[in-house]
Amino acid sequence: MEQKNKNSKKPSYSRFSQQELPAWKPILTPGWVIASFLTIGALFIPIGLVALSASDTVVEIIDRYDEDCVPDAYSKNPESFIQDPDIKKTCVRSLRVPKKMVAPIFVYYQLENFYQNHRRFVKSRSDKQLRDPEAKNDTYNCFPEARTADNKPIVPCGLIAWSLFNDTYKLSTRGKPITIDKKGIAWKSDTKVKFGSNVYPKDFQKGGLIGGAKLDEKVPLSEQEDLIVWMRTAALPNFRKLYGKIDIDLEAHETVKAEVENNYNTYKFGGRKKLVLSTTTWIGGKNDFLGVAYITVGGLCLFMAINFILLYVFRPRRLGDPSYLSWNRLPIA
């Protein structure tokens, strides 16, 4: 101990250094535990019911078209159908509206078994290039879609941009075409900041292998909303991306005609394509999971609470009973 003054070697006293801070020392009494389980159960079940009912009000039409949109002649070899530029790829689908759908109705394309979260796919992009026209040579991560054959940088580079989804949809009901609003489908922050308003596509999709859509070289990247939506990589292999918005209501039992341009080649890797029309609520699209999970957890909590109550009533055990201490039970050693 260091000498603090001539008379005493005592270290200076403070509540903190001597660990004398006042403390709250809770213990698990049956009252508290049972009460908390009951509260959670009582809270969660209504929330679950509300979430479930909200999900129920969502109306969703899902139509898988990748199998049916390949003509019979090519059904054994759909790849050659897709890769042939001369054949017309238009396909007409008929969708039935099960319940009244209130505007705005969102149009999505859903892809399954498409791993946008693969490590090499995710890193194959250049954010600098997307922002800044001067940084067009920053194609370091974009291999193999980084430069053209004569070593010119591709803007935007990388596999994500190269594989841009290029099926298009035209909807019509009762003979009248429905306008799909394709503006405002990307995140505002992306259009303002991440994608530059003076960056234009250059030498894009000019190589031997075509991965997806071509881009208009006169439109800056910040306005290429399809590209921006596509480049927000999805976390799971089954995902939906926003295609556009419909601003009219669709009545129940209506038939919507969808003219699909089946351009995108998902046949090589066994992917599936679906067209989705969906309304939304405060919790998003149709997702029963949250509602069901809340009800389950709430129910389990109530079940545990009841169990503990029964245990407490039929097998009471006095807390802090020293006769349970082992050295009080054994004879003196």
Partner: protein, 552 residues
Amino acid sequence: MGLRTLCLAWRELNEIEYQDWSLMFKEANSTLVDREWRVAEVCQRLEHDLEILGVAAIEDRLQDGVPETIETLRKAGINFWMLTGDKQNTAIQIALSCNFVSPEPKGQLLLVNGKTEDDVCRNLERVLLTMRITKSEPKDVAFVIDGWALEIALKYYRKAFTELAILSRTAICCRVTPSQKAQLVELLKSCDYRTLAIGDGGNDVRMIQQADIGVGISGREGLQAARAADYSIGKFRFLKRLILVHGRYSYNRTAFLSQYSFYKSLLICFIQIFFSFVSGVSGTSLFNSVSLMAYNVFYTSIPVLVSVLDKDLSEKTVMQHPQILYYCQAGRLLNPTTFAGWFGRALFHAIVVFVITIHSYAFEKSELEEVSMVALSGCVWLQVFVVTLETNSFTKLQHLAIWGNLVVFYMINWIVSALPRSGMYTIMFRLCRQPSYWNTMFLIVAAGMGPVLALKYFRYTYRSSKINILQQAERLGGPILSLGNIEPQTRALDNDLAPLSISQSKNGRNSVFEPLLSDSPNAVRRSFGPGATFDFFQSQPKSSTYSRNKDN
């Protein structure tokens, strides 16, 4: 009588004799081989024909508080050996006076003496036989051995001596040299005992360094022992607080800290593994690098640092029930079972977070950055509640650290989300505005902590461990009676010291102030029960003792 005697005698030396002797002495002092022996030989040449002047006898007074300390620590399952350089008589007297051994007929001292190998062998066998027989009887047996016999025993009869060491709970070794003290410690360490050596002089330094834990008493005989030790205390009786209070708290906190650190890293790792199953096993990291780095440094380290203030039982309870130390000695808080428990908890929580996140953020909400941030938020929320459940006493600092941690998490993420160049730009703002994000958080917490809480409550109430029982008794107030400890006090105790075992815990529901430093006037008095008085004479510290704990 056990007094330390010093004999004074004199003789006149003439110059020539001194010069001759001085040369021999210098030579002996600088030999490389057998220096001690040569020096002793040369000195013996000088020491003859002396005229006795007189004898000085010193009474070696014990420090106060020594008997109580030894008794309390014995109850906690610690065995004591006394290793001293004094002669046998002195050592036995001191041992009797501080209740180290009980006087006849309750206690029995078995002497192992002898100058030759055969003598020692016979003595050793006799004592060993007695020990084996009396092991079952409730008699206090201790053996006494002196330095010479010890030397022979360690060289020739090591196995027998080791067996004797294991059988006896108390032992007195007299006239031991410093190196023999170290050898004894080594012997006990090799029997898988956890050893603690406590001493106050320079001759104890080797023993202190050899033991698992070395405690030095800084005091009258200088600071050598204190400097060489792991822990240095002022008086012998502080050993009780060192072991029972500080040592026990340290064990609890270390156990929690180490297992919790594994848990929080395992949680992240398991989530990454699960994510790899849905990302084509390609090695995509669900969390971005900023989040991963900040997770271990900022998001989960602060509550753990504050766990250094955690106290599961108050000091008063521990002093009254030293047997609780058996629990720590058995390693009940840190062993493969408890580690497996934390591992399982990490796995379960990882499953909960992963499954809930990918199902509630599916299809149109499925975006890598958002899902990553939801999973990370879920992890951090779970951490907060896990630490809360494992903490036993909440000071203001702990509240600040635990809940403040959550606030810091959101603030750091808001800051990063405001940087246009970062990959996480606007992610946190978007998430905090979505009701489904908060729903997901509460669901993760409830689904993750519900089973943990239920299991803990069940164990706490129906399969209480000793610590839990004492905790409950302490917090709910009322007396804590230990009925099994009443022993008839036949030893001569100073003044009217009430037996340690039965005492009323005078705390109400708010036992909050717990002085740690023994110098504060409340602590010492409380430990000894009501009615204790103290002798404040300045006594010499006792010679080196060392204690051992047996691994149950």
